[in-house]
Symmetry: C2
Subunit: 257 residues, 2 copies
C-alpha cells in the first residue's frame, strides 16, 4: 500500500527540499520503491538529485495541466535504482494561475498521481513556500504531511496558519489527511533560541515530533551543488546519518499503521 | 521624493523580512521618514517590529482589497518616531486568489500607496517567497528592488526566474523599476560554500552588490522573538552594525540619483 507524504510549510527556507530529497534517498537505499515529486516552481528538489529541469522534457506541469501520462515525465535516478523523480521546471510558475479557472482545481494532482499509487511504497512531494493552489493540490493528493520546522522564531509563528490549511483540506477535500510528523531542522544545541523553539515545538506537537533532530551541518548545504543527496555526497556526515535515522522512524511509523 | 523599494526573492528563508525590518529601522534612526509595508501573509515583518497582527484592525488586505484609506491601517512604531508600519495579517492569505478576477489586478497596491508617495522618504515592502500576484503588485508599485541572497547553492539557482519576473514587470507595468542592489546575507567566512556563492554573485551582479555583507549573527534571529528590530534589541551586535552600514550605502545611492 503506497504512502503519499507532503513535505510542507509555508515558511520559507525551513528545510522542506533538503528533507524531501534526503528522506527519499534514504528510503530508496532501504530498497523501498520511492517517487520524489517536485511541486515547487523553483525546482530545487529536481536539481538536488541531479534530475533535468529542461523545459523541453515532460515535467509535473505537463502532467497536471497538460494531461501527459505520468510515466512520460518520471526520470530514473542515476545512483539509486529504487528512486524515481517527477521533476519541476519553470513552466510550473504559471500553474498556480492556470489552475484557478479549472473545475475541481484542487484535485488535479491527486488524479494525476492515481496511476502511481500501487507502483511505489512511498511518494514524497516537496511543496513551495506558500499556501496557494499548488500546496492545496499536494495536501489533497497526500495521505500524510511531514512539517519541517527550523528552530527559529519566525518558523514557529506560521504554524497555526499551516494547521488551519490542513484542517480546511481535511474538511473539504481529503478527510484521511494525517500529520505523520514534525521534524526539527538546522538544530544548533549551542544556541538558546534553538533549544527554546525545540522545547516549544515538542510541547505543542507532543509525540508527533520525530525523535531524530536534524542538526545544522554544512555538508547538507553543499550536496545540492553537486546534484546529489547527502548519502551519495558524504555518507559519513552527521546530516546523512540523521536523515537515515528519520527514514527508519518513518518506516516504523508507517509499518505500524 | 519618495523611494519605494521592494525586498524580494522567491527563494524562501534568505533574509527578506530581516532585511526589510532592519533596513527600515536603520533609516528611521537616521531620521528618514520610513514606511515598512508587510506584503507577506505570514506577517513576519509586522511581528518583527512588534506591530499588531490583530485581524480586527485594518491591514494591507483592507487597503488593497477593501478600499480602506491608507492612514486607517498605518501603525506608529513604539520606539522609533520616524518609522510607520502597514501591517499584514492572515486575511492576506486569501488576497492572491481574490486579486485574480479584478480588473487591473497588478496595480491595486500602486494605487493604494499613491497617497503615501510624498509623506515618506522611503517605503520598504517585504515580499512573500513566491512570484504570484502579491509580488507582482509590489514590483509594480516600486521604484526599485533589493534582492537578498543567502550564500547557499539553492539561493543562487532561483535568481534567473526572479530576473525574468522583474523584466516582465518592466515591460508590462513599470518601466522605471530598477535593481537598487543585491545584499549577501547569512555570510559565514569560514565556509567554502559561502565564499564561493558570494564570489559567483559578485561576478554576476558586479557593482549592484552592496559592499556591506550581512554575517550570520544569532542576535538577528533572536530579536524578532522580542518584537524588536536589531538596533533596539542589541545595537552593539555585528548584525545591527551591518544593517546600519547598508542603510548608509542605500542613502548614498539614492541621494546620488
Ligand atoms: N540541516 C541543515 N544544515 C545546514 N544547512 C541546511 C540544513 N537544511 C537545509 N540547509 C540549507 O538551508 C537552505 C534552506 O533549506 P531548503 O532549501 O531545503 O529549505 P526549503 O524549506 O525547501 O526552502 P523554500 O521555502 O525556498 O522551498 C538551503 O540552502 C539548504 O541547503
Ligand atoms: N544574518 C542572519 N544571521 C542569522 N540568522 C538570520 C540572519 N538573517 C535572517 N536570519 C534568520 O533566518 C531565518 C530566515 O530569515 P527571514 O525570515 O528574514 O527570511 P525570509 O526571506 O523573509 O523568509 P520567507 O521566505 O519565509 O519570507 C529567520 O529565522 C531569521 O531570524
Ligand atoms: Mg524548497
Ligand atoms: Mg519573510
Amino acid at each position: 500500500m503506497t504512502r503519499t507524504i507532503a513535505v510542507a510549510n509555508q515558511k520559507g527556507g525551513v528545510g522542506k527540499t533538503t528533507t524531501a530529497v534526503n528522506l527519499a534517498a534514504s528510503l530508496a537505499i532501504a530498497e523501498r520503491r520511492t517517487l520524489l515529486v517536485d511541486a515547487d516552481p523553483q525546482g530545487n528538489a529536481t536539481s538536488g538529485v541531479g534530475a533535468s529541469r529542461d523545459p523541453a522534457k515532460a515535467s509535473l506541469y505537463d502532467v497536471i495541466i497538460g494531461g501527459r501520462p505520468l510515466e512520460e515525465a518520471i526520470q530514473l535516478d542515476a545512483d539509486l535504482p529504487f528512486l524515481h523523480v517527477l521533476p519541476a521546471n519553470q513552466e510550473l510558475v504559471g500553474a498556480e494561475l492556470e489552475l484557478v479557472d479549472l473545475p475541481s482545481r484542487e484535485t488535479m494532482l491527486r488524479r494525476a498521481l492515481a496511476p502511481a499509487r500501487d507502483a511505489y511504497d512511498f511518494i514524497l512531494i516537496d511543496c513551495p513556500p506558500s499556501l496557494g493552489l499548488i500546496t492545496l493540490n499536494v495536501l489533497t493528493a497526500s495521505d500524510a504531511v511531514i512539517i519541517p520546522i527550523q528552530c527559529e522564531y519566525y518558523a514557529l509563528e506560521g504554524i497555526s496558519q499551516l494547521l488551519n490549511t490542513i484542517r480546511l483540506v481535511q474538511q473539504n477535500f481529503n478527510p484521511e489527511l494525517a500529520i505523520d510528523g514534525v521534524l526539527l531542522t538546522m538544530y544548533d544545541s549551542r544556541l538558546n533560541l534553538c533549544r527554546q523553539v525545540a522545547h516549544d515545538a515538542k510541547e505543542y506537537f507532543g509525540p508527533k515530533v520525530f525523535r531524530t533532530v536534524i542538526p545544522r551541518n554544512v555538508r547538507l548545504a553543499e550536496a545540492p551543488s553537486f546534484g546529489k543527496p547527502i548519502l551519495m555526497y558524504d555518507v559519513q556526515s552527521v546530516g546523512a546519518k540523521s536523515y537515515i535515522a528519520v527514514a527508519q522512524e518513518l518506516q516504523r511509523r508507517s509499518d505500524a499503521l
